[in-house]
Amino acid sequence: MTRTILIDPVTRIEGHAKITIHLNGAGAVEGARFHVVEYRGFEKFCEGRPFTEMAAITARICGICPVSHLLASAKTGDRILAVTIPPAAEKLRRLLNLAQITQSHALSFFHLSSPDFLLGWDSDPAKRNIFGLIAADPELARGGIRLRQFGQDLIERLGGRKIHAAWAVPGGVRTPLDPADREAIRARLPEAFATTNAALERFKGLLDGPLATEASTFGCFPSLFMGLVGADGRWEHYDGQLRLIDSDGAVLAEALPQQQISEALAEAVEPWTYLKFPYYKPLGPEAGSYRVGPLARLNVCEHIGTERADAELLELRERGGRVVTSSFHYHLARLIEILAALEAIELLLNDPEICATHVRAHAGVNAFEAVGVSEAPRGTLFHHYKVDANGLIEAVNLIIATGQNNRAMNRTITQIARQWIPPGAAEISEGLLNRVEAGIRCFDPCLSCSTHAAGQMPLHVQLIGPDGGMLQERWRQ
């Protein structure tokens, strides 16, 4: 009998996952579980802090998408102050979020996922990463890296630094946009459009050919979808109304009450993971589970509102239906959202108000409880604070995009395991490991961000027999 020494958890947080695959008596896959074995504790240690610090504290949750927490927190702060922020501040925050969506989606597609598509699922794992991509397709790799840099550069020009810029604050933003920075951003837009268009054409070609099976087996199932929509059901990323639809496109909830979100959403917990399972309360934990993120946003909206992105949205719907249910299409949705973001950035830069200097409203504590909602690259993000009369935090609840996709991620890896592990198999091949990883990667979960940039997500897969005993396990660190 073999014996295994387990090192768990690995100390590099935001990147440690464990997967267990459970087999039934016939040796067929019964289910798979995605375990997040890290504990962050933000909701607890924020208690007692001034609410004005929350944007900077919660931005530290992630180094890839600090902007998302910054915006959700600043919006919660706006409501505690009970102010309407200056119009230019809202436009600048939108610009910041669009930059965030661009850079995060570019990272997910080009750096993390495209090596699977372009180099092959079963290619040499040592080269199946961004460096392998640079060697195999330098033009595409360079374009992707520069596209992410474009987003990061925009964030830095607005907030003073690329990562953890505490620029969005309760009441608005700290500094206006310098006209020279506006021109510098504008000058890089043509290249960003060209890279995105090239990637879209390339990826759509693959979907019509070698990736057709993946598109139908990587998390292809009906579920609810949730996201913000703007006026007339337009694609939205910063404000607007929360809409929940089912996979037939029926609207289950329109304009979900954001300030009483805990009445609409609940969070289930499981003993085997620290990641919670939010669900739509009226339908219960299973039927009420929903997906968020790029694909959900494109599913809930009626249209994007910009010409090129709308054309791509139409094509996506021709490919996958009005409501696209395959999680593999998160990748395509990500590319379409980059295009939408670039078009929206162009429009905002042309807005005469974008360089206005009145960008911050000041007030005291005027509300003791508030919820701030924004769309992070990975999906809808909620910050919910309660404060005392002086503005000290009494309670915090954060509903994070990755958590909302938790059940969908579990269903996705179950589907992949069933597809790729034939009944009776007791071996886990490297190819399976990679496909399971890729199933998780469709959702671009936050925990993969920090450690995956070199092409590998630390992963621990266990094959569990019907008696609960472990048949085999593999690690990748």
Binding site: P50, E53, V169, N390
Partner: protein, 238 residues
């Protein structure tokens, strides 16, 4: 006015009787790190960062309080002092909860500057993580005990310059902390004039403007000296 001559780090210096070693060192361009000291306030030697070696004396002496003496030979930057200063800064960091990344004073903090100056790249001492409150009861300003290093600049400026004497030091040992109005919530203290001098002279983010978020506190403690000198000149004018 009689003059005393001495050497500091090998440099000859002549100072008026009664001048401190810190003033003498600055006179000849020798930099001695300080935290509690501030021009315009009485010295208290609370932080111990300015300790120097004086030949013939077994005890280290705080430069901010020690008067110059004839023939003194002073060393301000020996390996022993360097080690003590780094340890002192490490003790300040580990004794409280100094989370620079989210602090209002990040980038404009004297404790941070001193840590860089003494070469503290990490702490060799364990962090205590004490449970300390934040007082936001004042309508303009906040007090975060987590970031307080008990330099007592606020106590002195409120007493000596503003004349309100809102602040004191309460309790002892590890429980020692700054208190307002003999231990009331700051916002309940009638004596406070809302002048903000305590916030301006605070070397860290312990005292801050409530509207400030991370890194937005840009205090200028040196302005106090300008104010004190201007007032002194005003008093001399008939």
């Amino acid at each position: 006015m009689s003059v005393r001559t001495l050497t500091i780090d090998g440099r000859d210096v002549a100072m008026a009787t009664g001048a401190t070693l810190l003033a003498a060192a600055r006179e000849v361009g020798v930099s001695i790190p300080t935290l509690c000291h501030l021009e315009g306030l009485s010295p208290v030697a609370a932080c111990r960062l300015c300790l120097v070696e004086i030949e013939g004396s077994g005890k280290l002496q705080p430069a901010c309080l020690t008067p110059v003496a004839e023939g003194m030979v002073v060393h301000t930057d020996t390996p022993r002092l360097q080690d003590y200063r780094r340890t002192l800064i490490e003790m300040l960091f580990t004794e409280g909860n100094h989370v620079c990344a989210v602090c209002v004073a990040n980038g404009h903090c004297e404790l941070q500057d001193r840590a860089v100056e003494v070469g503290m790249d990490h702490s060799r001492l364990p962090y205590r993580h004490p449970d300390r409150p934040v007082d936001l009861t004042h309508h303009l300003f906040g007090l975060d005990h987590n970031r307080c290093i008990l330099c007592t600049r606020c106590v002195r400026v409120c007493d000596e310059v503003e004349g309100a004497h809102v602040w004191d030091v309460g309790w002892r040992g590890e429980h020692c902390r700054i208190i307002a109005g003999l231990n009331q919530p700051w916002g309940a203290v009638d004596a406070c004039t809302d002048c903000g001098k305590c916030v301006q002279v605070c070397p860290t983010g312990a005292l801050f403007d409530k509207a400030d978020t991370t890194g937005e506190k840009h205090a200028d403690p040196a302005r106090l000296w300008t104010l004190v000198r201007a007032r002194a000149r005003g008093q001399q004018t008939p």
